[in-house]
Symmetry: C2
Subunit: 199 residues, 2 copies
């Protein structure tokens, strides 16, 4: 069976990662979201192993010691991490595992997993990114300035990625990500090559 791969979709806050991913999940077969491990409380409606894998602080720190994460981070006193085993098992089942993650997280994953496909989703320009964040209408001016400061920093890391997809028109960005997935599926390194010897 042909192996799957890890597809990292990353880029600045506000660029539209979530929207691109929702559409991808509806148009491509064989995709699964990476399920994170967290120490935060389970909320009503969430499902173990689907929303998150829920662990205690002690369990999480034990997993860190045992090198069980592709990356992890502590946010507001809770841990969040991407579990290696889940990703590798799904890849071995032939799945394409999608990881939507910020730039810092993607760079951390890359240190542990060089075999992934790294896509940087970029805004057409910084001024357009600012428009999008402002038009959400949910952020204070301080928040907006912080996001823009981070975005400028994050754009410096594009060279660490494999592909650059500019999210100018949503449909063309989604088409391009689909084309990248189909191309990557046919990489020789992932093919299970087996021609019969005779004829």
């Amino acid at each position: 069976m042909r192996k799957g791969f890890l597809l990292i979709i990353s880029g600045p806050s506000g660029v539209g990662k979530g929207t691109v991913l929702h559409d991808l999940m509806n148009t491509q077969n064989n995709l699964v979201y990476s399920v994170s491990v967290t120490t935060r409380e389970k909320r009503p409606g969430e499902i173990e192993g689907v929303s998150y894998f829920y662990k205690t602080h002690e369990e999480f720190e034990q997993m860190i010691k045992e090198d069980k994460f592709l990356e992890y981070a502590k946010v507001h006193n809770n841990y969040y991490g991407t579990p290696k085993d889940f990703v590798i098992n799904k890849i071995n089942e032939g799945k394409i595992v999608i990881l939507e993650i910020d730039v810092q997280g993607a760079l951390n994953v890359k240190k542990n997993f060089d075999n992934g496909v790294y896509i940087f989703l970029a805004p057409p320009s910084l001024s357009e990114l600012k428009n999008r964040i402002v038009n959400r209408g949910t952020e204070s001016e301080e928040d907006i300035n912080l996001r823009m400061k981070n975005a400028r920093k994050e754009l410096q890391y594009i060279n660490e990625y494999d592909y650059l997809v500019v999210n100018d028109h949503l449909n063309s960005a989604i088409n391009l990500v689909n084309e990248i997935i189909n191309a990557e599926k046919h990489r020789v390194s992932r093919e299970d090559i087996n021609f019969e010897k005779g004829e």
Copy 2:
């Protein structure tokens, strides 16, 4: 401006390289065929710089000495070669340069040009390849056996390529090559990244 790249389409004789390429040239912009250098006589209707670049034996051998070829071969007392300058100039103009070439030639190019995109076009099976060659009705049994012997050898080299495209149904093979081209156009290594600093 975004740079182009060298796209090598290779695979066994009879697999359908020519058909795939004709359709590609009609559906993708920005493609140019690599023009070979040859010492053979110009035939009626051929055009210098379009069909071939025509050189004398002495000129060709001088070019070999000056390392001007990505690959060359001698066939029936005439030289044929892929000129480096032409390929590199077109790439710098943003073009995707298509080189349709046998497996031996592709492996020679790869020694000189690791930056290309290497596609192996394969038959669905060896028996199907034999059917296609037989159905052409132009080859003797000896020819057919020789082609099959070569094909079996050539399939051993798939691992040297970037992508494997199985030419089962012509349309899906062409779609896949188009998707590979579009994905490769958006490789970060080929992008001219330029976000304005301010907003």
